[in-house]
């Protein structure tokens, strides 16, 4: 799934998300909603800066690796999540359902990694797979 599809899905799933951008770790925009290049570049730069600032705080405080960030203000909230290749920033109105927003953002990142597109494990039921109907191995 490419960035545009992932973002379209995200916007469809989560009514709380107002704007979002997906970029790589160098700040190159992959997709932005609203679809505006200038806003996309600004949000991508801010996503990286927010993550850097949060990670610096984490280091100063001697905490474990960072997984996600929420910045909450009276005007609204900003969420930043990251995976090894992408960074995703989203904005919402004030007082969002934080857990749900993070869940939707992480799902979008997973979709971007192609996880839903991966081949599902195939389960084949074989009636004559060599297991006796008694189910035992003969030890009893």
């Amino acid at each position: 799934m490419d960035g545009h599809e992932a973002l379209a899905d995200l916007k469809q799933i989560s009514v709380q998300i107002e704007a979002a951008v997906i970029a790589d770790h160098s700040g190159a925009v992959q997709a932005c909603s609203p679809d505006d290049a200038a806003t996309g570049e600004l949000l991508a730069r801010l996503a990286l800066e927010i993550w850097e600032a949060a990670d610096a705080s984490r280091r100063d405080l001697g905490r474990d690796a960072l997984t996600q960030v929420e910045l909450s203000t009276a005007q609204g909230s900003v969420f930043v999540v990251r995976d090894p290749r992408h960074v995703l920033l989203a904005t919402t109105a004030p007082d969002p359902t934080v857990g749900l927003v993070f869940y939707d953002l992480k799902s979008a990142l997973h979709a971007l990694d192609g996880q839903p597109g991966r081949a599902e494990p195939t389960v084949v039921w074989q009636a004559d797979a060599g297991v006796s109907p008694e189910g035992g191995d003969g030890a009893a």
Partner: protein, 72 residues
Amino acid sequence: MARRKRKVLGAATLALGSAAGSVLIFKRKRERNASRADLYFEDGSMLSLLQGAPEADRMLPLAAEALAATGR
């Protein structure tokens, strides 16, 4: 006389309790609306940094810029 005194005392207690409850609700609401940075870590813990903390003050202007760029 004692009955009247008890009534007044009950009313005063009720008024005081209501006032204390209102103050508590107002305080909680104000805390909830305060700007803050919530950092989530790999070990499952979360750290909430309120506006005024140096770490939060590094991040909150960036959030304000992002929200302004998206029309908030």
